[in-house]
Amino acid sequence: MTRATFHMRNDPADVDRAVVALKCHVANALGTAGLFRFELSLAEALANVVKHATTSAPDAPVVIEFEVTRDAVQVEICDPIGAAPFDLRDHAHPLESIDLLAEEGRGLGLILNATDHMDYRRKADRMCLFLTFLKSKD
């Protein structure tokens, strides 16, 4: 089992760098399909945090922790301190219900679609998104 912690600036321009770095760290833990689901979920989730996490401390980083176990890759994305809670399950729309010509609104549905388990709850002083990717789904 391995654990690691990353910090991402609360800035849209830092999302891609963070996603690529995280993907490199789980490259040996997931297969091709799993890595695709991982990259997609992380990209959408981190972009969503940056977009919605209105915070009194804009310089506070987004903290990302992940753990690779025998069966799964588990990711925790913690909102910046002071950010208003945003449970994406309350806002996501099924992908099949979205107008084909809509220009937005797919991101949250993609996260739900691409992860094997998702939770959003308080951890210490922050609200955190928990994403699980099962190795058996590869």
Binding site: L101, A102, N113
Partner: protein, 114 residues
């Protein structure tokens, strides 16, 4: 950011000029291509062969460009890698866009339809 190439029969090929089309650059990409459309380019092929990843914002930008072209021209995709093609399928964009394996095939089909 974008790079453009003129192809046969008035077809313009657009390369995003970035390896990822994501929330960080989707708006800039859309604005640049929209400017191209406003300046008269109406037959566009988006060459995604150099793009390894597209997120929902990237897809949204492409949909916006398709709507901007509307009936005045055509917009096709070419060169999707396996992950980008999968993203298009998951979001049903394979039902929205004309998608070709290569830029040449896309441009040829577009020229034939003129």
């Amino acid at each position: 950011m974008i790079k453009t190439l003129s192809h046969d029969a008035g077809v313009t090929v657009v390369r995003p000029g970035a390896e990822r089309l994501s929330a960080a650059n989707a708006k800039a990409f859309k604005d640049e291509v929209a400017q191209l459309i406003e300046s008269g380019s109406a037959q566009l092929v988006i060459d995604l062969s150099g793009v390894s990843f597209v997120d929902s914002s990237g897809l949204g930008a492409l949909v916006g460009l398709l709507k901007k072209i509307g009936y005045r021209g055509d917009l096709a995709m070419a060169g999707l890698n396996a992950d980008v093609a999968q993203m298009f399928r998951i979001c049903r964009m394979d039902k929205v866009f004309k998608i070709y394996p290569t830029v040449d095939q896309a441009a040829e089909k577009m020229a034939d339809a003129l």
